[in-house]
């Protein structure tokens, strides 16, 4: 191949092109360094972009899962405390009932015991209507109270669920019917029967004791379920926390620059740009004109 004829203008154009490209590369690296991001627009890396977008939505989703989980902790924690109190009240009620069944108890003592059972019953009904953020936690999805003043269950058995992980939901409520019962087998009726029997028919009290045990068992099994779900949420929370850290790490890997490397790259580009400048300064100066006298 013959050598192409070269003119001053060719040299100028070519030098300018090379300087431009060198400066452009320097600018790209500097943009990366100053924004701290490897991907500043979709075309920088389309595949990195889709990963970044997916991870970003993952971060947001997990934040929401964590919020949902802590809301679930609120519900289940309150249910746990409430059921603990209810269980303690049932212990006390059972002791009182045993005292009433004791042959040494006279009508006066039994009346006093009946009165105290009445107080415990009202306390239990208050517990059954416990509210979290203005919602009765044992009333299902009705929005009102779980039990009315006459001890009737007026809630429903609807589940209150929380999204806690992709495709995973946890029920954070217990139905009042399940833990306190309703109607003839409701805790309110058990207490009324016991009070009635204390006052009128002490011989029937052994049946009430059995009923109290049923009520107690229901509360305890409710407690166990709440505990299990609480534990499940704790596990999910730990897992989500770890996932969140991993996702953020991945996002950082995809989006963020390696600062040391980028600084080095900028330095290298800068050097090569300067080298190009100084070489250019030498090449474009002389022509034969300078040497003709």
């Amino acid at each position: 191949m013959s050598i192409m004829r070269t003119t001053q203008s060719t040299v100028g154009v070519r030098v300018f092109r090379n300087l431009q490209s060198s400066l452009g590369k320097l600018l790209n690296e500097q943009e990366r360094l100053s924004s701290g991001k490897q991907i500043n627009r979709p075309s920088d890396s389309p595949s990195g972009m889709v990963t970044a977008l997916r991870l970003r939505s993952g971060v947001e989703r997990n934040e929401q899962f964590l919020r949902n989980i802590s809301d679930g902790f609120g519900w289940l924690g309150l249910a746990d405390t409430t059921l603990q109190s209810a269980s303690a009240s049932m212990e006390r009620a059972r002791t009182l009932l045993l005292q009433g069944m004791n042959a040494s108890s006279g009508p006066t003592e039994r009346a006093a015991i009946a009165a105290e059972l009445g107080v415990i019953r009202d306390g239990l009904m208050e517990l059954a209507n416990t509210r979290y953020l203005d919602r009765a936690i044992f009333a299902g999805n009705t929005g009102g109270a779980a039990y009315d003043a006459a001890g009737n269950f007026i809630g429903d058995n609807g589940a209150v669920e929380r999204n806690v992980a992709p495709g995973v939901r946890v029920t954070v409520n217990l139905s009042g019917e399940q833990v306190f019962g309703a109607g003839a087998t409701g805790i309110y009726q058990f207490f009324n029967d016991a009070i009635d029997n204390l006052e009128n028919d002490p011989t029937a009290l052994s049946g009430d004791l059995a009923n109290f045990d049923i009520a107690s068992d229901r509360i305890l099994s409710g407690l166990a379920e709440v505990g299990a779900r609480y534990r499940r949420l704790e596990v999910l929370k730990d897992r989500t926390d770890v996932t969140q850290i991993n996702i953020k790490q991945n996002l950082s890997d995809v989006e963020d620059i390696d600062i040391a490397r980028t600084i080095l790259d900028v330095q290298l580009r800068e050097n090569s740009y300067q080298a190009a400048l100084s070489a250019t300064a030498r090449v474009i100066q002389p022509s034969l004109v300078d040497f003709l006298s």
Binding site: P42, R56, Q64, R67
Partner: protein, 670 residues
């Protein structure tokens, strides 16, 4: 040869070298002139007379030198290539600019991008699910939905504006083309005159070539030499310049797809290269494609949200829930002829794609495993799926029921459910004997609603049915009918007062009351407003995606609750929040859109780079051919200068010789 012939030889040399020096000076002066081609003096020796004449004393020596021609160093082949490369570069670079501008519209990835707003929108549904009665959570949801729709609207508006800008630019560029064409035609005329008169016109040709070269950056250009040194210039669809006549182009923006036409006859000139070709590509393809893509994103958001929020009808399985692979078992009960219900359990699977309906039908048949029951599944793969579970014996009565957490099932028309769908085939009711059902408000007395059967299948059928229903419905209850004319028709009954509870029940024997039509869901009930099915978003694309006015005005109308559940249930909201996790959800539609944009921009960036390199190569080759090298000119200058000196010396010598002859000869003996 005459005695003074030598002087003439010297004179011709002096004149020729002077001319050559002038040309060198011209070259040096124009070393940096755009479009200038270096010129070269062609010299030729003047020979003696070729025909002998009387008294001729030809000695055999030549008679000097002359300038035979002044040549332009120009390679026509390289010119043509440079036009093509220039045109291709102009087109690609224009498209690249357009795509980079679209990229800037989205500003992804960032905390302000649409992806982030989508994520926040889904999160807001979870917040509503956490406290469905909380007005603040509902308002926040509406706010986020409005922000999302506004951002889509703005992005769409920005791209539309970019397109308008491009149209304005193409107008200016066409003016430039028309101006250049007129000038080329004028130069052609001047060149023709100069050629005929035998005058020097190299610089006129340079000017013309420069104009053609500029033109080649704007439109697709081919040039052909014409008569008398003129140049004909062609573009897509005909000649721009032919001899001294130039044609003009105009922009026709009267239709959505804009066109460039010839002013003379209105025929289109589809520009395939140059800046104008690139602009036309962006106006008619790139921008509309990305506007359309954005509409698809908006429609995906609208459809998926509405599907769950309100317009979903019992009897069909919405697209959103056809993939149940992630949610565990389906569960429902059936009983034949009033026997004890049997529970059917079916593992969740993805029935959303091609063949999904068949797969679901097989799976259901196997799960039921009872020859007395026939299952048919239609639709799917982009259409809502319809499931029918009925007795094999037509006289058998089959009752379907819910089991445990799966209470969602419904019937097709006018009974039990607040929303119903009439299939496309059943929309012609004109042959039916009666169409009756009953409604009641707040558990009061039932009112019978009787509608005269009619054909509601064609255009306007939905409106006619809505009118007929509303005329028959008691005060306080409204029917909303949508769809029809080829698609399943959707009927929603709603109580006018949100606080009222509405029940719809069946009487009569309409075939659509066949209780065999049932809907299966995976324990996640359909979103249904306490009032009745209502769309969350309205609009037909990114430009007008809007939160439904009723919901925007009163966030308590957001349907967070699943049908049959208490007022503080968040079943529908939970389902909506999960749309953000859906691998085929609106998020993924948006992500594919952005990735397509990124990939296309990246590709065009590379193509521009490659095209830029080949353009530079051609330009360099052209410059190598036509450019002025100062060293070369200096050498020429010195050579011509020396030749001039020598010629002058030759003249002096002849002069001295003649002097000797004239002044000093014949003086012998004086």
């Amino acid at each position: 040869m005459s005695s003074f012939g030598g002087l003439n030889i010297a004179l011709s040399a002096l004149l020729t070298q002077q001319r050559a020096l002038e040309i060198t000076g011209h070259n040096v002066s124009n070393a940096q002139t755009e479009g200038y081609s270096r010129q070269r003096v062609e010299q030729a020796a003047l020979s003696g007379p070729s025909v002998p004449a009387l008294h001729m004393k030809y000695t055999g020596a030549g008679t000097g030198v002359k300038v035979s021609d002044i040549l332009r160093a120009r390679n026509a082949f390289l010119e043509a290539r440079s036009y093509a490369e220039d045109g291709a570069y102009g087109q690609l670079n224009t498209i690249r600019t357009a795509l980079s501008r679209i990229e800037l519209v989205f500003g992804e990835p960032s905390d302000r991008g649409i992806q982030n707003q989508l994520s926040e929108f889904w999160s807001a549904w979870d917040d509503v699910a956490n406290s469905p009665a909380d007005a603040a959570a509902r308002s926040q949801l509406v706010q986020r939905a409005v922000t999302l729709s506004d951002t889509l609207k703005k992005a769409s508006g920005d791209i539309a504006n970019l397109r308008e800008d491009a149209i304005a630019e193409v107008r200016t560029k066409i003016d430039e083309v028309n101006g250049a064409v007129a000038n080329i035609a004028k130069l052609n005329e001047a060149i023709q005159n100069a050629t005929v008169a035998g005058l020097e016109h190299n610089d006129l040709i340079d000017q013309r070539d420069l104009l053609v070269s500029k033109l080649s950056g704007l439109v697709n250009v081919t040039a052909r030499a014409g008569e008398n040194g003129m140049l004909d210039v062609y573009t897509d669809g005909g000649p721009l310049v032919r001899g001294v006549r130039g044609e003009t182009l105009t922009l026709d923006a009267s239709e959505p797809r804009i066109a460039i036409r010839w002013s003379k006859d209105g025929y289109p000139s589809n520009q395939s290269a140059g800046v104008i070709g690139g602009l036309m590509t962006t106006i008619n393809d790139t921008y509309p494609r990305y506007l359309n893509g954005l509409d698809n994103v908006a429609n995906a958001i609208r459809d998926r949200v509405n599907e769950i929020h309100g317009l979903t009808s019992p009897g069909t399985m919405p697209l959103a829930v056809q993939d149940l692979s992630g949610v565990g078992a389906l569960s429902f009960t059936y009983s034949v002829n009033g026997a004890a219900p049997t529970t059917v359990n079916l593992a969740g699977a993805d029935w959303s794609g091609v063949g999904g309906a068949v797969a679901l039908q097989t799976a259901l048949t196997n799960a039921i495993n009872n020859p007395a029951i026939t299952v048919s599944v239609t639709g799917g793969n982009g259409e809502p799926m319809r499931i029918k579970v009925s007795g094999t014996d037509p006289t058998a009565s089959v009752t379907l029921g819910a089991d445990g957490a799966n209470p969602a099932y419904g019937l097709m028309f006018g009974n039990r459910s607040l929303t119903s769908t009439i299939s496309a085939v059943d929309q012609d009711q004109s042959a039916a004997a009666s169409l009756e059902f009953r409604v009641r408000l707040n558990s009061g007395a039932w009112s019978t609603v009787s509608v005269t059967p009619d054909d509601w299948s064609g255009a306007g059928g939905a409106a006619a049915l809505q009118t007929a229903l509303n005329a028959a419905l008691p005060a306080g209850v409204t029917a909303v009918v949508s769809g029809g004319n080829g698609s399943p028709m959707h009927i929603a009954y709603q109580a006018d007062n949100p606080a009222d509870t509405l029940e719809v029940g069946e009487i009569g024997t309409h075939p659509n009351q066949d209780p065999g039509y049932a809907l299966f869901l995976s324990g996640v009930p359909l979103g249904e407003d306490r009032i009745g099915g209502r769309a969350f978003f309205t609009g037909s694309g990114a430009t007008d995606l809007t939160v439904t006015a009723e919901i925007a005005a009163d966030p308590s109308r957001i349907a967070a609750t699943a049908p049959g559940r208490g007022p503080t249930d968040g079943g529908a909201a939970l389902l909506l929040a999960q749309l953000g996790e859906d691998p085929r959800g609106p998020d993924s539609v948006y992500r594919s859109y952005i990735v397509e944009l990124g990939a296309e921009t990246q590709t065009i960036n590379r193509r521009v780079e490659i095209q830029g390199a080949s353009l530079a190569a051609v330009n360099q080759a052209r410059e190598a051919e036509a450019g002025v090298n100062l060293d070369e000119e200096m050498v020429n200058m010195v050579v011509h200068q020396q030749a001039y000196h020598a010629a002058a010396r030759f003249m002096t010598t002849i002069d001295e010789a003649l002097e000797q002859l004239i002044l000093r000869t014949g003086l012998v003996g004086r």
